[in-house]
């Protein structure tokens, strides 16, 4: 089980400001009330190895980049993603500037095959983490998923970004046709 989100991120999330991205446009899909939906979304994220992560640059331009990641969950079954990035990379610079991020992961790489479509678009709050417990958890998760990368991630060369996923839109036609939205901060 990963560490709880930091007090700073928790305050931002609980204030309801994580819904500001809706910008007056409600979610296009009805919230999925299925009891197992949290675990299902986490499993979908876990099935994908790379995502397009969008950060906000200091000049207020969105920047989307493709990054490998690992998925864990906190005590409330909220997805927590860990991303190793270059110490002074654009992603690291941006997350130090703004914690607001967006991400998209498409599990199905054959979009013409509609019957296999699976994907997620999500909003999250990101921060650079330094504590050794989270570094150890993230490295352990990477070693299980992409062992060849473990040796390359050191504190001398990389920063570790933690992303608390707050809300998501998802579609999953492969297992059972469903489009849904979920607010992970809702009780």
């Amino acid at each position: 089980m990963v560490q709880p989100m930091s007090a700073r991120i928790s305050e931002l999330a609980r204030s309801g400001r994580h819904r500001e991205h809706q910008n007056g446009v409600p979610d296009p899909y009805k919230p999925d009330a299925e009891p197992g939906v949290r675990k299902r979304v986490i499993a979908m994220l876990d099935n994908c190895r790379v995502m397009n992560l969008t950060t906000v640059a200091p000049n207020n331009w969105p920047i989307t980049s493709c990054v490998p990641y690992v998925t864990l969950a906190d005590a409330a079954d909220r997805p927590v993603l860990y991303v190793f990035v270059g110490l002074n990379s654009q992603d690291a610079v941006d997350v130090r500037h703004s914690s607001k991020v967006s991400l998209a992961a498409d599990i199905n790489q054959e979009p013409q095959n509609f019957r296999k479509a699976q994907g997620i678009q999500a909003q999250g709050l990101a921060e650079i983490v330094d504590d050794s417990i989270q570094w150890t958890d993230a490295i352990a998760a990477v070693s299980g998923k992409r062992p060849a990368l473990v040796e390359t991630f050191t504190r001398a060369t990389h920063a570790l970004i933690r992303i608390d996923v707050l809300s998501a839109l998802f579609y999953d036609v492969k297992v059972r046709p469903v489009w849904g939205s979920i607010d992970f901060m809702a009780a």
């Binding site: 500001e20 790379v50 397009n52 969105p62 980049s65």
Partner: protein, 195 residues
Amino acid sequence: MSLTSPPAIKAELLKIAESAPASDYVVPGVFAPQRRAELVRDIQTFLHGTVLLHLSTLGPTGWPVTHCMHFASMVGADQSLVIYMFTQDNTRKLVNIQANPRVSLALFRPAAGSPPEKTPYLRMNALATVITDEDERTMVFDTMRAKPGFDFAKKLRLEDQPLLRADVLLAIWEDPANDVPAGTLDVSAGLRPRA
């Protein structure tokens, strides 16, 4: 039909191009200007063979939003690169773009069975606007219809949807399978007056 940018976008493109936008970011080395035509051609080949991209917009409260999109791409006579996307009406991306045209686009396309380290990678900064010109809409729809993988998009009734146009300013391009290391292509360079 030319790929002339809408006047407001053209003015903003010129303003940004004058400041050499690559200097605002942590980016890999800038490709030599003389390689621009060759690289734009390679990028267009990659785009033509790819069905989906991710478009990111920025809302007024500073939240980025990322969207999975079908698209068509075109290259202008001046090596400008333009991406077109149909979108449903009343969506966040449409609301965001009308308030702030700055967008980001990214693609990562692993061929079946190919390792990630051999996969082309493309990321772009662009200015987006909504296109209402019927001739331009028809040209884009015809181009999209001729694209591999369009069969899936037929179910989406694109012809009834608003059309977005994104004029690319900057591209990060990497094509390891063809020995092209990661580099930055300043697409906006063609807009700057020649010295």
